[in-house]
């Protein structure tokens, strides 16, 4: 099995589009995931191999097949609308990387000009 990006791009008849380094970089940004250059190099090849292996799935099922998510289908799962005890404020904050005045302290969310 090849793991180099070059050979994947050269695979004839492959159903899945081979990912480029730019694609993986963009996906990592969407997933809020910093990757090193070394990681990018490895993932470009590996992800293309995996996508190539799973591409068959896209051609198996006819359009009228219903999707399955649960072995025993359940719908409209309700419970009584009653108050039950939850975490205390102290418990909820107990694992916070940073807390202040009984609240989660987080880095800046909005930019300077927003």
């Amino acid at each position: 099995m090849s793991s180099s990006a070059d050979s994947v791009a050269g695979d004839g008849g492959s159903a899945a589009p081979a990912l480029t380094r730019g694609d993986v970089d963009h996906l990592a940004h969407l997933a809020r995931l910093d990757l090193t250059d070394g990681e990018l190099d490895i993932y470009v090849g590996q992800l293309s191999v995996i996508l190539d292996s799973v591409a068959a799935v896209t051609k198996v099922a006819a359009a009228d097949i219903e999707p399955t998510t649960h072995a025993v289908p359940l719908t409209n799962v309700f419970r009584p609308d009653v108050r039950i005890p939850g975490l205390t404020q102290q418990q909820a904050l107990s694992g916070a990387p940073s807390a202040q005045d009984g609240r989660f302290r987080v880095p800046q969310i909005l930019g300077e000009e927003q």
């Binding site: 990912l19 993932y43 992800l47 995996i50 399955t68 649960h70 359940l74 990387p97 989660f104 880095p107």
Partner: protein, 512 residues
């Protein structure tokens, strides 16, 4: 008075009886297992955290109740257990095998944890796993791999390799696993132990750190089928805190085991799945499987061959569904409310915005396999690809479910090898994700269909001299016939070989 070593060799059922009868105290049983962990876990590394003090306190509660003459909290009161470190327990750190959760103390108990404690089961500690349960060897754990007690140079399977290794090393008679694509069954198979994945929704997922929500299921693990069934009945049952939990009576799996032990499998139809053998299956595994088929035939079962043509696409569908769901689930690790945070300028770093801190934290906190699957899932769920990938995979799931339904029209249960190979060497497959994924070839179809499935040891492979697992799959909610066949098979094995497979594991060097 039993010696410490004898206590760790007993089954959970026998330990519970001895505690109930006052032959031994729960504290002595617990201490014996803590001593065993101290003696061998340096080599096995089944545990990420050992909760000695709280375990002994739980054991004392059981002994105090016994002394008062109270009836036991359950059929397993006073028996120690190893908890996979993806199920949260208050007062015990939960890592899911990831650096991103290092040092996190969960502020609540999972429903499964609460049921164990209410049953008087003693939780010894948290066991190792592949990071967020992604893997088949525990080599993706951020805290180093566990080792297979049958051969310390080999993996104990994964993701629940720590729980399986703890059983095989006689560090605990009971363990909890979680199974998304085979993480209970494949480790059981390669360690000569028993592990069952209930019907999806059979056990609450509340307090279980999510991998792929439409596949994750908690299940019982032990060295015998009866112990597994006893634990199954403790943890199963409806939970209003999990909206996918099935609101029906818990299957009577202990009765089913007794029936299998006495009545065997006479009159039952057992289907051999044509697609779950052949290429990719080690010859020693197939020999053991064929011997199991012969034993079940001799025990009176009617063997039928069944064909499930869409199983061919199971692995591919799984590796779209799983990354999609996990990329979504793992978005919660955002460095804001709990877990790791790196680079924040307020803590001496250089990053100002929440977005940059989030990306830096996730880049530093997640391991290679987790990152690989997050990116793959982000791709499969992105605009223009959702229908083609995730949507198609869910439809393939329907075709696989229909294959199972057709097969169950011809058979009461289906069987196959649980793992295509016996335990492989540490490092052998870490650099080849697709080779690693193939370990779940036999277990993934059952995961996609949501049916109950378990691995029970079928013997020792003639080629590698390592344990092999027989997978028994029941129809949805068909745990009872599954356990009956497992118990009958095990009883036949014990009658021939004198003991269950786990009892033949080599002695480990004891360090003091």
């Amino acid at each position: 008075m039993s010696t410490s070593r004898e206590l760790t060799r007993l089954t959970a059922a026998d330990l519970a009886t001895q505690v109930r009868d006052g032959a031994v105290s729960a504290v002595e049983v617990t201490q014996a297992h803590l001593d065993r962990i101290g003696a061998v876990d340096g080599d096995v590394h089944a545990f990420l955290h050992v909760s000695g003090e709280s375990a002994l306190a739980q054991a004392r509660t059981v002994d105090d109740a016994n002394a008062r003459g109270a009836s036991p909290a359950s059929a397993l009161a006073g028996v120690p257990l190893a908890l996979k470190d993806i199920v949260v327990q208050m007062g015990s750190p939960a890592t899911a095998g990831s650096k991103i959760l290092q040092g996190w103390m969960p502020p609540y108990n999972a429903t499964v944890t609460q049921r164990l404690l209410d049953a008087g089961i003693v939780i010894l500690g948290k066991t190792n796993l592949d990071e967020f349960a992604m893997g088949s060897s525990t080599e993706n754990s951020a805290y180093g791999p566990s080792r297979n007690p049958w051969d310390l140079t080999r993996v104990p399977g994964g993701s629940g390799g720590g729980s399986a290794a703890a059983l095989a090393a006689f560090e605990a008679p009971l363990a909890i696993g979680t199974d998304t694509g085979g993480s209970i069954r494949q480790p059981a198979s390669v360690t000569g132990t028993v592990g069952a994945k209930p019907t999806y929704g059979g056990v609450s997922r509340y307090g279980v750190i999510a991998l792929a929500s439409s596949l994750d299921q908690v299940g019982p693990c032990a060295r015998t089928v009866l112990d597994t069934a006893l634990l199954h009945e403790v943890i199963a049952g409806h939970d209003p805190r999990d909206s996918t939990s099935i609101d029906r009576p818990v299957p009577r799996v202990v009765d089913a085991v007794r029936r299998g032990q006495t009545d065997g499998v006479a009159g039952m139809k057992i289907g051999v799945v044509k697609e779950l053998q052949g290429e990719g299956y080690q010859s020693g595994v197939m020999q053991s499987f064929n011997a199991a088929v012969a034993a079940l035939t001799a025990a009176g079962a009617e063997i039928v061959e069944v064909s499930c043509p869409h199983f061919e696409y199971a692995l591919a569908a799984y590796y779209l569904i799983l990354p999609s769901e996990c990329s979504s689930n793992l978005a919660r690790f955002d460095a804001m409310r709990y877990g790791l945070r790196v680079g924040d300028i307020a803590s001496g770093g250089s990053l100002v915005s929440a977005e940059d801190v989030m990306a830096a934290t996730r880049g530093a906190g997640f391991g290679a396999e987790v990152k690989r699957r997050i990116i793959l899932g982000t791709y499969a769920l992105s605009a223009g690809y959702y229908d083609a990938y995730y949507g198609s995979a869910l439809k393939v799931r329907t075709l696989i479910r229909q294959d199972f339904e057709n097969a169950y029209a011809a058979a009461d249960v289906l069987i196959s090898p649980a793992s295509p190979v016996t335990a492989f060497r540490l490092g052998e497959k870490v650099d080849d994700p697709m080779a690693m994924y193939l370990n779940d070839l036999a277990t993934i179809p059952g995961s996609l269909a949501g049916i109950p499935a378990m691995s029970v040891p079928s013997g020792i492979a003639s080629d590698t001299r390592l344990p092999v697992g027989l997978q028994i799959m029941g129809p949805a909610l068909g745990e009872e016939q599954m356990y009956r066949v497992a118990a009958a098979f095990e009883a036949g094995y014990v009658a021939t070989h004198g003991a269950v497979v786990a009892d033949a594991a080599p002695e480990l060097e004891v360090r003091t």
